[in-house]
Amino acid sequence: MRSRSIRLSITIILILGIAIAALGFKDINIDIPGFPQIERDGTGPLGLKLGLDLRGGGHLVYQADTGTKFDVTFAEDVSLIDLITTLEELRFDDDAELEGLLVGPTGINRYLIRTDIMSSDDPRRTGLNAALTEEFGEITLFQDSIIEQPTMEQMQGVLDNITGRVNRFGTEEPIIQIFGDDRIIVQLPGASGSVTDILLADPDPDAPPSEVYIATALPRVLAEAGYEEFEIETKGDREFKVRSNTVNAETQGRALTSIITEIGQVAQFGVTSGIDEAKALIGQTARLEFKERTCENAGCTTFTDTDVGNPPLSGDDLSRAEASTNQVGIGWVVNLQFNSRGSDIFSDLTRRISTTEAQATKRIAIIMDDRELLAPVSRAWIRDGRTQISGNFNREEARTLAIQIESGRLPVPLRLIQESDVDALLGSESLKNSLIAGLVGLGLVFVFMILYYRMAGVVAAFSLVFYTVIVLAIFKMIPVTLELAHIGGFILSIGMAVDANILIFERMKEEVRIGRTLASSMEVGFSRAWPAIRDSNISTMITCVVLLWFGDRLGGGLVTGVAISLFIGVAVSMFTAVLVSRNLLQLLAWIGLGGRINLFTPESLQRTSMEPAQTPAPRGGR
C-alpha cells in the first residue's frame, strides 16, 4: 500500500510538472519526427488562446442569400441613396414591404437590387417595376432572377474567396469557417475600430527631429499615405496612437515607409483593423475576370493585363468549370466551358495569342477579386469555348481551382445576419476582471474549506490548485479558445471539483464518528463516496456530450466551447478526487498526523468521545 502510494505521488508530481511546463512556456513548439508537430503560441496569459470577447475583435456571421435579384437600369439619373430610401419605404398591397434588401450600383444608373422574394407569383415581384417607374421615371432594363440555396461546393468557393480577402487585409489569426448548410462565420481578432500604434526609435543624436516637426509631419504623412478620418493621440514622448477608419494593409505599409523616410526610424508599428472596412471587403460579391496578359520579360514577372471584349470577359460569360482527369487518365485538369458570347471572345483571344510567337509573351490571366488564380499560356485556337487547363495539378489542386472559378461564375450573394464586436480595451478589462474574480472566488473557497474541514481542507485546497493547473494546461494543449462563457463553465466545474472533496470528507467524518482510525476512515470514506462522485459526474458528462452534439446548431462556438470546458473540468475533477485528494490524505495519515483526528474534524472528535452510541445508523460491512 505504502509503496503504491509513493509511486502514485511521483506520478502526480510528474503530471503536475508537465502541466506547469505546458503553461510556463508561453510558446511551445515540439517537433518530434514521426509525430504530429505541436505548436502553441496563444496570445493570452500563460499562452492560452483567448476568444474575441476577451481580446477584442469582430465576430461576423454571413448567410448565403436566397431570394430574387433584380437588374434595373433607369433612363434618368437616380442616386443610390434615393433608391435605397425609396425601396425601404415601399409598401405593396397588404402593407407588405421588401425584406433583406441589398442594393449595389453596377453601372451608370444601373443597380442590382436583392430582395427576399422567393415565389414567382409574389405580388411584390410585379409591383416593383411599377413602383420604381412611378418614382424615377422610365426603366430601360428590368430583369429578375431567382437566387437559390447554394450547394456545398459553392459554399466552399465562397469560403475560399472570403479567406483570400481577409488574408489580404492583414488581420492576425482570422477564423473563417462554414457553419451549417449556408452560413459562414468570420472571426477577426482585433478588428474593431482601427488603431495604429507607432513608437519612434531613439532619435539620431546628430540631427534629432524636433517635436514640433513630428507633430506637423505625422498627420501629413498619414494623410498622404491614405489614412482617412484619423486622430492622433500623443501617448508619450515618441509614442503615438492613431485611430482611423482605414484598415487597408497597403495604406499602412505606405505610411510606415513614409514615416521612416520623413521622420525617422520606427521601433514599433502595430495595427488593429476596423470592422466596417472588413465588412465592406467581405460582403463584396466575387468578381472573376479573364484578361490578356502581355509579359515584359522572360519569367513574366512584370506584365500588363488588358480586358478582352466589351463588356470585358468575366465570370458571367462562363457556363461551367469542373475538375476531371485528362484524356490519358493520369493527371488532373480543369475544364472550362464558356457560353456563346464568351466562346466568341475566347475564340478571338486564343486565335491571337496561341501562335508560336505570341506564346512567348502572351498569357491568359484568370483573376479573382484582383488576385491572380492562374495565368496559363494558350496552346491552341479554341473555337468552341471548351478549354482545358493543365498544369501538373493533383486532384486536390484541380478541384480547388475549379471551385474557385465556379464561385466567380455563379457568385453566392452573402448577407450579414449577425455581428458582435468587442473593443480590445474592453476585452482586456473583462479578462483582468474575470481573472481577479476567479482568484478571489478560489481564495474564498480555500478559506471556507480550511475553516470547515481543517487539515482536510488544506488537502482540498491543494487538489484544487492541482485541478486548476491541469485544466488550464489541457485548455492550452487542445487548444480551447477561451471566451467569457467558458470561464462560466469552468467556474461551475470548480464547484464540482470541490464537491468531490466534500463528499469524501463528509464520509470520512462519519467513519471517524463511529470510532474508526483516521487512516481507515479515509479508505472507507473514499470508497463510500466514490459511487456518488462517479455517477453524478457521468450524468454531467452526458449532458456535455449531448450539447456538443447539438452545438453546431446552437449558436456554434459558444455552446460547444462551454460543453467542452465543462466536460474537461468534470473529468479532471474526478481524476483529482480519486488520485490527488486521496493520496494526500494517506500521506498525511502516515507522516504522523493520523493520530491527531481533531486536526481534521474537530467537532466530530468531541462527539466520538462524548456520545459514541449516537451514530446515524448501524454500519454493516459492505
Binding site: V61, L80, V103, G193, R243, N245, D276, K279, I417, Q418, E419, D421, V422, A424, L425, L426, S430, N433, S434, I436, A437, G438, V440, G441, L444, F448, L484, I487, G488, I491, L492, I494, G495, M496, D499, I502, L503, E506, E510, P531, A532, D535, S536, N537, I538, S539, T540, I542, T543, V546, L547, F550, R553, L554, L558, V559, L566, P616, A617, G620
Partner: protein
C-alpha cells in the same frame, strides 16, 4: 430525528410559490397566451442592435435619449448598467453604403463628440431576424435529448435498487423544476426591471441542466446505499435518513459554488452577468430540488400519492396538498 420527508407538502408549496407566479408571468400577455415567449427577448431572439458603451464622465439617460432622438433613433431603449456604463438597444443599424458611414459609426461619433463616450470601450452586437428563433428550438431539443439520456443512465446506475426507473424519472422532474424556476424568475425580472434574455441565458440553462442532475444523483446515491443496506425498511424512512446524511455535503457544495459565482458577479465583466445569474439561481434551485423535490417524488410515487394527486379534480388536488401539509 428531523422529519423532512413528512413535511413534503410544504416543499412543493414553497416551490409553487416561486413557480406559479413565474408561470403566470410567462403565460399572461405578452406571453404564451399571445404567442410570445413569456421572456423579455434580447436581440439574439428578436433582432436588433445593442451597444454597450462607457462615458468618460457622468451622463444622464435623458441626454443620451436626446442624442438618439436627434439621430433618428427614437426607438432606442437606454438603460444604465452601472456608473457611466450604458446599454443602448436599437433596431438593426444600417451598414455602410458606398461612402456613407454605417449608422453605428454615426452614433458612436455623435456620442463621443457630445457626451464624451469612450470609443475604444464599445461592445456591439447586431442580430438580423433570421437567426432569432432557431436557437431556442434547438436548445429545447438538446435539453429534451439530454433528459432522456440521463434518465436512462440513472435507471442503469440504480439497477440494483428496486424500481430503478423511478430514480431516473424523479431526477428529470427535479431538473424540470429547476428550469421552470429559472424561466419564471427571468420572466418576472423581464417585466419588472426589463431584464432581457440572450443566448448566454440558453447556455446557462444548459449548464444548469448538467449541474442539477449531478446534485440530485449525490442524494440518490445515499438512498441507493441505504436501501441496499436495509432493504426491509420503509422507503420514506430511508429517504429521510439519506437526506439528513447528505445535507452537510449538499449545503457545503452549493455554498462553495455560490461563493465563486458571486465573486464573478461582483467583480467580473458585465457581459456574462446574465449567465452568472442563471447559474446562481440554478445552483440554489438545484440544491433545493435535490433535497426537497427529487427524493420526495420517490416517496410520493412509492405511496401512490402522485396518481391520487392527478386523478382528483383541481380543487381536490389543492385539498390533497393541504392534507399533505397538514401532516
Amino acid at each position: 430525528m428531523l422529519d423532512i420527508v413528512g413535511k413534503r407538502g410544504w416543499y412543493f408549496l414553497i416551490s409553487a410559490l416561486v413557480i406559479v407566479p413565474g408561470l403566470i408571468s410567462m403565460i399572461a400577455a405578452p406571453g404564451w397566451i399571445t404567442g410570445d415567449s413569456g421572456l423579455k427577448a434580447g436581440i439574439d431572439f428578436s433582432s436588433g442592435s445593442v451597444m454597450n458603451v462607457t462615458f468618460r464622465q457622468a451622463v444622464e439617460e435623458e441626454s443620451i435619449r436626446e442624442r438618439m432622438d436627434e439621430l433618428g433613433h427614437s426607438e432606442a431603449l437606454i438603460q444604465r448598467i452601472g456608473g457611466t456604463n450604458f446599454f443602448i438597444r436599437t433596431d438593426v443599424l444600417q451598414e455602410a453604403i458606398g461612402d456613407a458611414p454605417s449608422e453605428r459609426e454615426v452614433i458612436e461619433r455623435d456620442l463621443e463628440k457630445f457626451l464624451g463616450m469612450e470609443r475604444d470601450r464599445v461592445e456591439f452586437d447586431t442580430v438580423s431576424p433570421i437567426v432569432a428563433h432557431e436557437t431556442v428550438r434547438t436548445a429545447f431539443y438538446a435539453l429534451a435529448a439530454a433528459s432522456v439520456f440521463i434518465m436512462f443512465f440513472v435507471w442503469y446506475a440504480f439497477r440494483r435498487v428496486p424500481k430503478a426507473h423511478r430514480y431516473g424519472v424523479s431526477a428529470i422532474l427535479a431538473l424540470m423544476h429547476d428550469l421552470l424556476i429559472i424561466l419564471g424568475i427571468f420572466s418576472i425580472l423581464g417585466r419588472v426591471i426589463n431584464l432581457e434574455v440572450n443566448s448566454m441565458f440558453i447556455v446557462g440553462l444548459l449548464i444548469v441542466a448538467g449541474y442539477s442532475v449531478n446534485d440530485t444523483i449525490v442524494v440518490f446515491d445515499r438512498i441507493r446505499e441505504n436501501v441496499s443496506r436495509h432493504p426491509d425498511r420503509d422507503l420514506a424512512g430511508t429517504v429521510n435518513l439519506s437526506i439528513l446524511e447528505s445535507m452537510g455535503r449538499s449545503l457545503n457544495t452549493s455554498i462553495t459554488t455560490l461563493v465563486v459565482l458571486l465573486a464573478m458577479l461582483l467583480i467580473g465583466g458585465n457581459s456574462i452577468r446574465e449567465l452568472l445569474l442563471v447559474l446562481a439561481i440554478g445552483a440554489v434551485a438545484g440544491t433545493y430540488s435535490s433535497i426537497f423535490i427529487a427524493s420526495q417524488y420517490l416517496v410520493m410515487w412509492d405511496r401512490g400519492e402522485i396518481g391520487r394527486f392527478f386523478k382528483r379534480s383541481s380543487s381536490a388536488a389543492a385539498s390533497s396538498l393541504m392534507h399533505l401539509i397538514g401532516r
